[in-house]
């Protein structure tokens, strides 16, 4: 599995500073200020970013939405969609492979776990090169949306048939 414990320093992620934001856009969902979080065991964010569990129904929606989660751009998921990407592993049964904290880490900033990954960081607002103006200083998902997707992924257990 590519997402092993090939760990680099999670320091910068833990220290993600409060970033200033322009008015929130329909596409870019991040809101100021970014919630601070703590990385544990170098691959997990055990605490919910919002302090509450997310809504799995909404999470499924965000995961499919082309302008938000984009998850199906790269992952096959147990949903009824004509086009799903193959560049990442199938997310079927993913909850049997990862804890909630690990899933949260992967969505927030997967480069903490695998520096070379193709998967974007969905809750990171800076440190990028030449971001288009409309997205500068913004995260791809809001903290609520991250939690919703975590909640949805947690329903994807092995043997799950939808």
């Amino acid at each position: 599995m590519k997402f092993g414990r090939r760990v680099l320093t999670p320091l910068f992620a833990a220290a993600l500073a409060v970033a200033p934001f322009a008015a929130q856009q329909a596409l870019a969902q991040g809101k100021a200020p970014l919630v601070k979080y703590k990385v544990v065991d170098e691959d997990s964010i055990p605490k919910s970013l919002t302090g509450k569990p997310g809504d799995p129904e909404k999470g499924k929606k965000w995961a499919i939405a082309g302008r938000l989660g984009h998850c199906i751009a790269c992952h096959v998921m147990p949903v009824d969609e004509p086009y799903m990407g193959e560049v990442g592993p199938s997310l079927v049964g993913v909850a049997s492979r990862y804890s909630a904290g690990q899933l949260r880490m992967l969505i927030v900033d997967p480069k903490v776990v695998n520096e070379d990954t193709m998967m974007p960081a969905f809750y990171k607002a800076d440190g990028f090169h030449r971001v288009r103006k409309a997205f500068v200083g913004k995260t791809m998902l809001s903290a609520e949306q991250v939690e919703d997707i975590v909640a949805y992924l947690l329903t994807l257990k092995e043997e799950e048939k939808q």
Binding site: C74, Y83, M84, E86, H129, R130, V131, R132
Partner: protein, 280 residues
């Protein structure tokens, strides 16, 4: 259609709860996977084999490219043929005044472009050279990079290299431009934080949403894209690939994109020139 069938296989796999990918392993080799469609990469290439974007497209799209009468790009090529002999500018010259028959003078030219121009001390794409001739030798106005006239002319010139292997020079004065292009190719950019190498080296032959990834070669440009309903330049494609990952694109004809063009041509060194190709 290929992409539908793959999605169908994936869905069918869910239906029976089997997600091990066994179904995928039994598929016959796709055109892009077949040895006879592979070309040996240049020395030092990161790829095990080269395969043209052509082989990643559907039989229908390939058929459009195979037949010059069906290939919509030839509407532009025909215009360019008459442009070739049309006098324009204060010097009272046409391309043919200096270059005679395009079939002879432009044979093999596109295959070795972009080139380092000692005179201009920069990398020149064919498009730069055409405008150089227009401004300096014809005393005529430049054509816009993405104008019908320019796309037609670069297609007409490209056509004279059809079937010839891409063969750019990356040594000597070209080296530093090549290295800049190589760096660009590997630089992550945009909110998606992706580099060219992620999509076109690590994942060709895979779907990213509804798009079937090729090795991202330049041998087919200019390309008639069905999605654009128009001929388009390589630099337009670069802009698209930058924009999609929410990165600020560069200008067409910029030094950055011209260096990238050189590096990309080398990645496809040995592939046959297909200009003007047809893509999805």
């Amino acid at each position: 259609m290929l992409r539908i069938s793959i999605a169908a296989v994936a869905l069918a796999a869910f239906a029976i709860g089997a997600v091990s990918g066994a179904a995928a392993d039994d598929k016959p080799l796709q055109p892009w996977e077949r040895k006879e469609n592979h070309v040996k990469p240049p020395k030092g290439s990161p790829l095990d084999y080269l395969v043209s974007g052509y082989w990643f497209r559907t039989p229908k799209t390939r058929a459009l490219q195979d037949d010059d009468f069906e290939n919509p790009a030839f509407l532009w090529v025909e215009q360019a043929e008459s442009e070739w002999t049309t006098v324009d500018g204060k010097a009272g010259k046409s391309c043919s005044s200096c270059h005679d028959a395009v079939e002879k003078s432009m044979k093999g030219v596109s295959a070795r472009y972009p080139v380092y121009s000692a005179k201009n001390k920069k990398m020149m794409a064919i498009t730069h050279q055409v405008n150089y001739c227009r401004e300096n030798y014809m005393k005529a106005k430049k054509w816009k990079w993405e104008s019908d006239k320019m796309l037609g002319m670069t297609s007409l010139i490209g056509l004279q290299s059809r079937g010839m292997p891409v063969n750019v020079s990356i040594d000597g004065p070209a080296k530093k431009f090549f290295e800049a292009g190589e760096k660009f190719y590997h630089q992550r950019r945009g909110q998606f934080d992706l580099a060219c190498v992620h999509c076109h080296q690590g994942n060709f032959g895979m779907y990213i949403r509804a798009d079937f990834l090729s090795q991202g070669h330049s041998n087919g440009f200019p390309t008639y894209r069905l999605k654009w309903q128009k001929l388009g330049s390589l630099h337009r494609r670069f802009r698209g690939c930058n924009n999609n990952i929410r990165a600020v694109p560069y200008k067409r004809g910029s030094p950055e994109y011209t260096n990238l063009e050189l590096y990309l041509a080398w990645r496809g060194q040995g592939l046959k020139v297909e200009a003007p190709s047809v893509r999805q």
